[in-house]
């Protein structure tokens, strides 16, 4: 909503305020000012001058030398403008003055343009004559401005006087952010009412007088509202003998300042009243209306209609139409018909000011893909009580401007007039909600400024129908708070029962995941929850995989964001790819993010959202680096027992020989592996890339913050090293299983200290060496006890084809 301040002041005559103060105060009372543009911001030393003499420039064909009377003196100005003539009055910026911009109408520079006297092709010039663009205005606001050249002032302009004053440019256009509940403020009068209340000034709306000749509109036409649920009110008036002409300058300028292009008196009046009251109106050429009647009814299924923009629209019964006795003439509240629009030949017209159901208009406009200025107003849900006043105001302007002869009487179909709501005033509860002690009398004064009456007998506040947003005590509390001042409400802290601030167990575990990942060198990534269905192909996921059972977004931003991810891999690989393509040598990332697994498709209930702890990296480290992070994390959250890794070939996106399921006891809690080279290629990562994913809902039940001290060993440990020749296919995990199974009660720990394949070892074998530690809690172990354990281990190792190294 853009409105010049001068228009607001027209209804709040006492308003004297700077632009900044207006901005601050209006914003604090709830009418947020987004910004303002001062027309005279960069206009300085610009006066009315009269051209007394024009001579040719001695050195340039395209320039002329003018003697210009600026009141106190006559100065010489050189100009290249094609349209100057002797005797004309023109805007002249004097030496040291400022204009808003260049004459080509390009964007205005922030600080304007300074004008200094100087020589043009050897001839002195003491100022500059201005075009309308140089004055910071536009041809829309000043329709008499020439296409190219100096803006010529009216003959009655006083030589030497301030041009900014003469052109009414001491004004500023304000842009407001109106909240959706304040339908009344999408109008100049609505904002003016708020301004009057904010600045404690009198609100003086236009006085609408009765108009019309002795004839009666009912003799010309009748109106029937067949679907009154969609059209609570329909007002119509008639104008004869229309004389199309430009509207007066003041009206043109106000409209132009609001961003509306002036057209002619009838169109301009319609637009003017729409801005003023927020009530859209429509005009039909009477000559095109047949059957002497208007019918408001729903469209037929499959009906087609040509709107005044020339387009054919397909309709259905959800859309409300305006018809005459024979045919449709407009889509209610959205756009009139080509067949009944006002042309230059119009003599008589029918004026419509109606109230349509906001939701219906919004849905219809959406369905038709046709959002208009009018539909935008209607869809907010207008107050039906303003329709009559607005149409009378328009007729009054038609008479005042001599645009036509208004026919007497009004057709007003208004079955169920909307009545003011009543809300019981509970001053105590308002104070209780706000934390204030505002006297009831002060509240009543605030209400009075907002035209909310109070009935002392029933203790009710009577809410005018234009304030549809006020329904209950809390709404009244807001009105009180706005004008009492949000800034004056005290600041306190809640009292009452104490509560414990905390993170949930899940969030605490996630915090540890972040800490550990970062400690291990991984940085946190965040990726989108939705992605393209094509990622499954990229990840080599088979057609029948459950991972492809993804939830689809009905109205996505495009295919790339159309399904909810069922795996976190694409986000991670895309991020690694970004880093690789930007020539970052290494990247180590982790993400904690949800995947979305539907219980059933199409979705009937909410899907399972599973938090995934995903790690990815390239450039530094290998499979075992990832494994290290996984184990550091699991240990930190209290999973102290051995995690096992099962080599699998199940994940198609991982290297078949370099992947494993991560298991705790029998539960799979995640997987780890090197990215399949083909997948790495698809993501354009030219390095070996590693991934690990922990499924947090599987990890959480295993996690614990409980710790128990077990005492520090008092007796010495016995350490034995064992060096083996192992067939290549045997995993060290199998060796460890043997050590654990056969180590006996004194086995304390074991550690791999060497693994070797190469020339000194037979082909098909590898050398593996472990150091095994035994210890008893209650005594010093004897060699015999340790030897027995070692023998058991060695024997079992032999059983799976492992020999001691000689």
């Amino acid at each position: 909503m853009n409105t010049p301040l001068s228009w607001i002041k027209a209804y709040v005559p006492g308003l004297q305020v700077t632009e900044q103060d207006y901005t601050d105060a209006m914003t604090l009372s709830g009418t947020k000012v987004e910004g303002f543009v001062k027309f005279d911001k960069n206009l300085d030393k610009i006066v009315v001058g009269q051209i007394e003499k024009i001579e040719k420039h001695p050195n340039a064909d395209k320039l002329v030398v003018c003697q210009v009377n600026i009141g106190k003196e006559t100065i010489q100005i050189v100009t290249g403008a094609p349209n100057v003539k002797e005797g004309q009055k023109v805007p002249v910026v004097l030496d040291g003055g400022k204009v808003a911009g260049g004459h080509d109408g390009s964007p205005l520079p922030e600080d304007g343009i300074k004008i200094k006297k100087g020589k043009l092709r050897g001839v002195e010039s003491f100022g500059m004559m201005c075009s309308i663009e140089e004055l910071g205005a536009s041809k829309e606001m000043y329709l008499d401005a020439p296409e190219d050249g100096i803006y010529i002032l009216k003959d009655d302009a006083v030589v030497g006087s301030d041009v900014v004053e003469v052109l009414g440019l001491h004004d500023a256009v304000f842009e407001y952010e109106i909240t959706s509940n304040r339908v009344d403020c999408y109008s100049v009068l609505g904002i003016a009412r708020e301004a009057a209340a904010t600045f404690h000034q009198k609100f003086v709306p236009p006085v609408v007088v009765s108009t019309g000749n002795k004839e009666d509109i009912h003799d010309f036409i009748s109106v029937e509202v067949a679907d009154s649920d969609l059209c609570p009110r329909y007002c119509a008036r008639m104008v004869k003998n229309i004389k199309l002409a430009p509207s007066p300058e003041w009206m043109q300028r106000r409209l132009a300042a609001c961003g509306i292009r002036p057209i002619n008196n009838i169109v301009d009046i319609t637009n003017y009243v729409m801005e003023e009251y927020g009530q859209p109106m429509h005009a039909y050429d009477m000559a095109t209306l047949e059957g002497k009647k208007i019918v408001v009814s729903r469209a037929e299924e499959g009906e087609e209609f040509q709107t005044l923009d020339g387009q054919i629209r397909k309709l259905d019964p959800s859309i409300l139409m305006i018809r005459d006795g024979v045919k449709a003439v407009g889509i209610a509240g959205i756009m009139g018909g080509e067949n009944s629009k006002i042309t230059d030949e119009v003599t008589d017209m029918l004026f419509e000011a109606a109230c349509f159901d906001g939701t219906n208009i919004r849905l219809s406009a959406k369905k038709l893909g046709l959002r208009t200025e009018a539909s935008g107003k209607f869809e907010k849900g207008l107050d039906p009580n303003q329709a009559e006043q607005a149409i009378n105001r328009a007729c009054q302007l038609i008479e005042e401007l001599g645009a036509g002869e208004v026919v007497g009487g009004i057709i007003d179909q208004y079955e169920n007039p909307r009545k003011p709501k009543r809300i019981v005033l509970e001053a105590d509860r308002i104070n209780q909600l706000l934390g204030t002690c505002i006297a009831k009398q002060e509240m009543l004064e605030i209400f009075a400024k907002l035209e909310l009456e109070y009935n002392a007998d029933t203790e009710e506040v009577i809410v005018p129908t234009f304030r549809q947003d006020l329904e209950c005590m809390a709404d009244l509390a807001e009105e009180v708070a706005r004008f009492y001042g949000y800034d004056k409400i005290p600041t306190t802290l809640p009292t009452g029962e104490a509560t414990t601030g905390k993170l949930s167990f899940k969030l605490r575990i996630e915090e540890i995941a972040r800490d550990i990942a970062e400690y291990c060198g991984f940085s946190q990534a965040m990726t989108y929850s939705f992605e393209s269905p094509k990622v499954y192909d990229k990840l080599l996921i088979p057609q029948d995989s459950i991972l492809r059972q993804a939830i689809t977004i009905m109205n996505p931003l495009g295919e790339d964001f159309s399904i909810m991810r069922t795996t976190s891999l694409n986000g991670m690989l895309s991020s690694l790819s970004t880093n690789y393509n930007r020539r970052n040598k290494t990247a180590k990332l982790y993400e904690l993010g949800n995947i979305y697994l539907p219980k059933k498709l199409p979705l009937e209930e909410l899907p399972e959202e599973r938090m995934q702890f995903t790690l990815g990296m390239y450039g530094d480290g290998d499979f075992y680096t990832m494994k290290g992070v996984v184990e550091e994390f699991l240990e930190k959250i209290g999973i102290t027992q051995k995690i096992s890794y099962h080599p699998e070939e199940k994940k198609p996106f991982l290297h078949p020989g370099r992947q494993a399921e991560i298991c705790y006891k029998k539960t799979v809690i995640g997987y780890i592996g090197e990215v399949h080279p083909q997948v790495a290629d698809q993501y354009e990562i030219g390095e070996r890339t590693y991934l690990a994913v922990l499924d947090m809902p599987s990890v959480l039940p295993l996690a614990t913050f409980e710790r128990r001290y077990t005492g520090i060993a008092k007796y010495p440990a016995v350490m034995r090293d064992i060096s083996m020749v192992v067939p290549k296919g045997i995993l060290v995990g199998q060796i460890e299983e043997v050590i654990e199974a056969k180590g006996g009660q004194y086995l304390e720990s074991y550690a791999l200290f060497d693994i070797y394949e190469g020339s000194q070892i037979m082909a098909g074998f590898k050398s593996v060496a472990y150091s095994i530690v035994f210890r008893a809690n209650d005594k010093t172990l004897e060699d015999k006890e340790v030897n027995e354990a070692m023998e058991r281990i060695i024997k079992a190792l032999k059983g799976i084809g492992i020999e001691l190294r000689q």
Partner: protein, 339 residues
């Protein structure tokens, strides 16, 4: 003999004095005090002396031995010290050589900002809770006083899965889920991912994060809301921070407000960051609408409460002066390393 002893002593002390190495000292010890050392030899020759002279001379020899031993010990200490000093002198390192680092990773700026916010509210007794990303229309809209066909539904550019399930457009549905649990009083914050159908650009993302706050108790007032958020702003942006509450509209709160804080870059004087106004908008809030309380089974005559919603990315962008929202989702190491 006494003269010889005296000469021997002086010669020994001289040698000790002159020696510059520990092994030299050892040689001297052996040469004088060893089994075949000169002093030992001298002592052996004592048997040539008379019985009367013998104890006196023995005493003299012992004194000399003691003097030499003391001198040896003293020199040893002196030398050891000199050697340690020499060693230290030779062990000077270049302290400006690069550090050996663990190359610790970095938290995402969103998370840093979130943890900061969580810390503040946990300190005030708030519990951190979560709700689903994919949500029922009922929780996201209807239970928040946004009935079917409400224009606010269009304003939020919702991604729909079907006509009753959607991607939540705000974290506010968590308010309803908490209230429905029926456990009062409530002091909670609910951080989480939200979605709106905005094309990606420097200031928009179709997926971002909010932190919802909700307090429900007896006699909770708008003044409490102001106090709480003023406290929060000071904690987050520094003790000098002032807050400004501007009336606004949200369907699920009444009265509602938007909150500005004094620009933490210029302190309120006006700069590029605050577009010259000195203020930066950070959140929306208000008193929970009585309809919302009722729909969640709470009697608005007995209980009241306030709610607020903060855009996490907004805080992160402002606090760390990040000029393009896209950076938050690209995960470029060169970006992440700065946090």
């Amino acid at each position: 003999m006494e003269k010889k002893l005296k000469e021997l002593k002086e010669e020994a002390l001289k040698q000790i004095e002159a020696s510059q190495a520990l092994d030299k000292l050892n040689e001297i010890r052996v040469a004088y005090l060893g089994k075949k050392g000169e002093l030992t030899v001298l002592l052996k020759s004592m048997k040539e002396l008379s019985n009367e002279e013998r104890p006196k001379f023995g005493q003299l020899v012992n004194d000399v031995r003691k003097t030499i031993e003391e001198k040896l010990e003293e020199s040893k200490t002196r030398l050891a010290l000199a050697i340690r000093e020499e060693q230290l002198k030779n062990e000077v390192i270049d302290v400006t050589l690069p550090a050996k680092k663990n190359n610790v990773g970095h938290r995402h700026p969103n998370t840093i900002a979130l943890e900061e916010v969580e810390r503040i509210f946990i300190g005030m007794g708030y519990e951190v809770v979560e709700g689903p990303d994919i949500e029922y229309d009922y929780y996201n809209f209807e239970a928040l006083n946004i009935p079917a066909n409400h224009p606010a539904k269009d304003e939020q550019d919702t991604f729909y899965i079907n006509n009753k399930i959607l991607l939540r457009t705000q974290t506010s549905p968590v308010q309803v889920r908490e209230m429905e649990k029926g456990k009062l009083p409530i002091r909670m914050i609910a951080p989480g991912r939200v979605f709106r159908s905005d094309e990606v650009d420097a200031t928009h993302s179709p997926s971002f994060h909010q932190i919802e706050g909700l307090v429900i108790d007896k006699e909770i007032t708008f003044a409490d809301l102001k106090g709480t958020l003023a406290e929060f702003a000071k904690e987050l942006f520094g003790p000098q921070t002032k807050v400004k509450f501007r009336p606004h509209h949200f369907p699920f709160t009444e009265p509602s407000a938007e909150v500005d804080v004094t620009c933490f870059k210029c302190g309120g004087k006006g700069c590029r960051m605050c577009k010259g106004s000195g203020w930066i908008e950070i959140l929306g809030c208000g008193m929970v609408h009585p309809h919302v309380l009722e729909m969640s089974g709470i009697d608005p005559k007995e209980y009241s409460g306030f709610a607020f919603g903060v855009g996490l990315e907004r805080i992160a962008l402002l606090k760390y002066e990040i000029d393009d929202m896209r950076l938050l989702y690209e995960n470029d190491m060169r970006f992440l390393k700065q946090f």
